[in-house]
């Protein structure tokens, strides 16, 4: 008999104890989120609201501002280059997300069983998390430099060594590889934690029914992993869409501005061009895009999972 975990405590409470307990339940709900929300509102929400206000003004990082209504938004929406940057973002995500998640999940399946070698592998996969994206970018720039190690190896095999960072398509590939190298191992740990949380009973039932490994994966593992898979995909999307450090350090937006992302543009507008109003407006528009995508992902997954 499978546990149906979708009842909230309050449903059970209400069924058995009536509305007074339900009110207590509500109150405890608010109280539990209160500390978190307090800090969030002060240090995250408030700055965002201030940014929203700033999107209707002109002026620099320092100094006076003037209200200009929707002017900044119009400027952004009518400028072709921002759509190019958005396209870059989508290209990056399409290339990096599925591959990264697939690798992370695959490796997690391998690492699920604790063995004598577990300490070694779990430590190794932890290593990319130890350094900053900037440091990782420097390594990748070197790896893919014209006379660097990767081309060195390619030449030995006899393949023509591409000029990675100086051509748009290959530059994008380098950035994707960088993002995957640096980012995907983190998800391994989430998946391993989730996988190890699946009690063996489920697998035993599967074995009794004569399922082979593939069927086990599809019918037992994946459905039970839905929560964590959704988590990883949503978070990965939100983070990947805000790609910046990798591009900044490897190609600085080049060659000829072709690898730039939206956040890169926001950074430039705010801190280089000193046009903070435009930067704020672009951020707000981008927020909408990410919000839409996330909402879509959550919706597509409604099924069993309660919110």
């Amino acid at each position: 008999m499978k546990e149906k975990n979708t009842d909230t405590v309050s449903t059970i409470v209400t069924k058995k104890y009536g509305t007074k307990a339900r009110q207590r339940e509500m109150l405890s709900g608010y109280l539990f989120i209160l500390p978190f929300m307090l800090f969030l509102i002060t240090f995250s929400l408030l700055p965002i609201i201030m940014t929203f206000i700033q999107s209707f003004q002109t002026g620099g990082t320092v100094g006076p501002r003037t209200f200009v209504g929707l002017q900044n938004y119009v400027k952004i929406l009518t400028d072709r280059q921002y759509y190019d940057y958005l396209l870059n973002n989508f290209l990056y995500i399409i290339m990096s997300l599925p591959v990264g998640q697939f690798i992370a999940f695959g490796l997690a399946l391998y690492l699920k069983k604790t063995s004598k070698l577990s300490p070694f592998f779990e430590t190794v996969y932890f290593m990319p998390l130890l350094i900053s994206m900037v440091a990782a970018s420097m390594i990748m720039s070197y790896m893919f430099s014209v006379n660097g190690p990767i081309n060195y190896l390619l030449e030995i095999i006899g393949i023509d060594a591409p000029n990675w960072l100086n051509k748009t398509e290959t530059a994008r590939i380098v950035i994707v590889i960088l993002e995957i190298w640096k980012g995907c191992t983190f998800y391994i740990y989430i998946y391993v934690a989730a996988l190890r949380g699946i009690p063996n009973d489920f697998y035993e039932v599967g074995l009794i029914e004569g399922a082979n490994p593939w069927q086990m994966l599809r019918k037992v593992t994946l459905p039970l992993m839905r929560n964590s898979i959704l988590l990883c995909i949503v978070m990965s999307t939100i983070w990947q869409l805000q790609l910046f450090d990798s591009v900044f350090t490897t190609t600085n937006g080049g060659p000829l501005n072709s690898t730039k992302t939206v956040v890169f543009a926001i950074y430039e507008l705010t801190f280089k061009n000193n046009l903070t109003g435009l930067g704020a407006a672009l951020s707000m528009l981008f927020l909408l895009v990410i919000l839409l995508i996330t909402a879509l992902q959550l919706r597509l997954n409604k099924g069993d999972i309660e919110y």
Binding site: V13, F43, W181, Y189, G197, S283
Partner: protein, 277 residues
């Protein structure tokens, strides 16, 4: 069960090995640079070894009287540990509520929290600074800690794990007269240990490597953290990469060691005790 060397096992071994190499190689290169007596970052043509390896760079960072490295290290440690502890507390409390309690506006509030992750910190940097200033936390380690204790990803992560805890478990504890807090501490927290471990690692590493915010906060040399201190080593004409790589190595080797020891309790073995029966 046959204990043979199957094709599957060979493939598995190869994949694990190759991926490990891909990860270790860059770190090896960093290590080599830190042992180099020249300031170049990497050699061309590519080499896996360094001629005349030297420990001078490490000596300079650790032993020289003018080196502020130990100070940076301690500051980073304080900031990272405190942030992690506070983050875990706040996030787990909130995640429990989102996962297991109903109250009006729950979904909307959660989406609002999610939305805060979708605005790049580039633009919120200056407004956040002004707010922190209002609290007189600029130029202090607190200023680096407090604004960073809200981790929405953490709430999302714990929420996903907590929602798999059967409500009947909670309910039976309540029947036994346990208070809300007791239920939380005695049941929810232990069961979410592996997820909390992941969150702890994530938070700690983010703070440890965080450059921009501590940079903005540090107005005196005494509150600089490791990334800020290391960034200050980059002069203009001559960037001493060997020194910087040595500092980078020194900054993550201790963390790696801690991870190796803490790994067992966080990641290994947690079959969620509650789900039995």
């Amino acid at each position: 069960m046959k204990k043979g060397i199957t094709l599957g096992k060979v493939i598995k071994a190869l994949i694990l090995l190759i991926t490990s190499l891909i990860i270790i190689l860059p770190f090896w290169l960093f290590l080599m640079t830190s042992l180099r007596d020249k300031t170049v970052l990497f050699e061309t043509p590519p080499k896996l070894w360094v001629e005349n390896p030297t420990l001078d760079n490490y000596a300079e960072l650790l032993l020289s009287k003018t080196s502020a490295f130990p100070l940076w290290f301690v500051n980073s440690l304080i900031v990272s540990v405190t942030t992690t502890v506070l983050t875990l507390i706040l996030a787990s409390l909130a995640a429990y509520a989102f996962a297991k309690k109903t109250f009006p506006g729950r979904n909307a509030i959660f989406m609002l929290c999610m939305a805060t992750m979708m605005v790049p910190s580039t633009v919120t940097l200056l407004p956040a600074f002004m707010i922190v200033r209002q609290f007189h936390m600029v130029d202090s380690l607190w200023g680096m800690i407090i604004p960073c204790v809200t981790n929405v990803f953490g709430v999302f992560l714990l929420k996903q794990f907590m929602s798999t805890i059967p409500s009947s478990l909670i309910e039976s504890a309540r029947i036994d007269g346990a208070s809300e807090l007791r239920v939380f501490v005695k049941i929810i927290v232990p069961v979410s240990r592996s997820a909390m471990g992941v969150l702890a690692i994530n938070t700690f590493m983010n703070q440890w490597n965080s450059l921009l915010w501590p940079l903005i906060m540090a107005n005196t040399e005494t509150v600089k953290t490791l990334p800020v201190g290391i960034a200050g080593l980059k002069g203009q004409a001559l960037v001493p990469w060997n020194l910087i790589m040595a500092a980078t190595m020194l900054s993550f080797i201790p963390v790696l060691i801690v991870f190796i020891f803490a790994r067992k309790s966080f990641i290994e073995g947690m079959t969620a005790g509650a789900v039995k029966g």
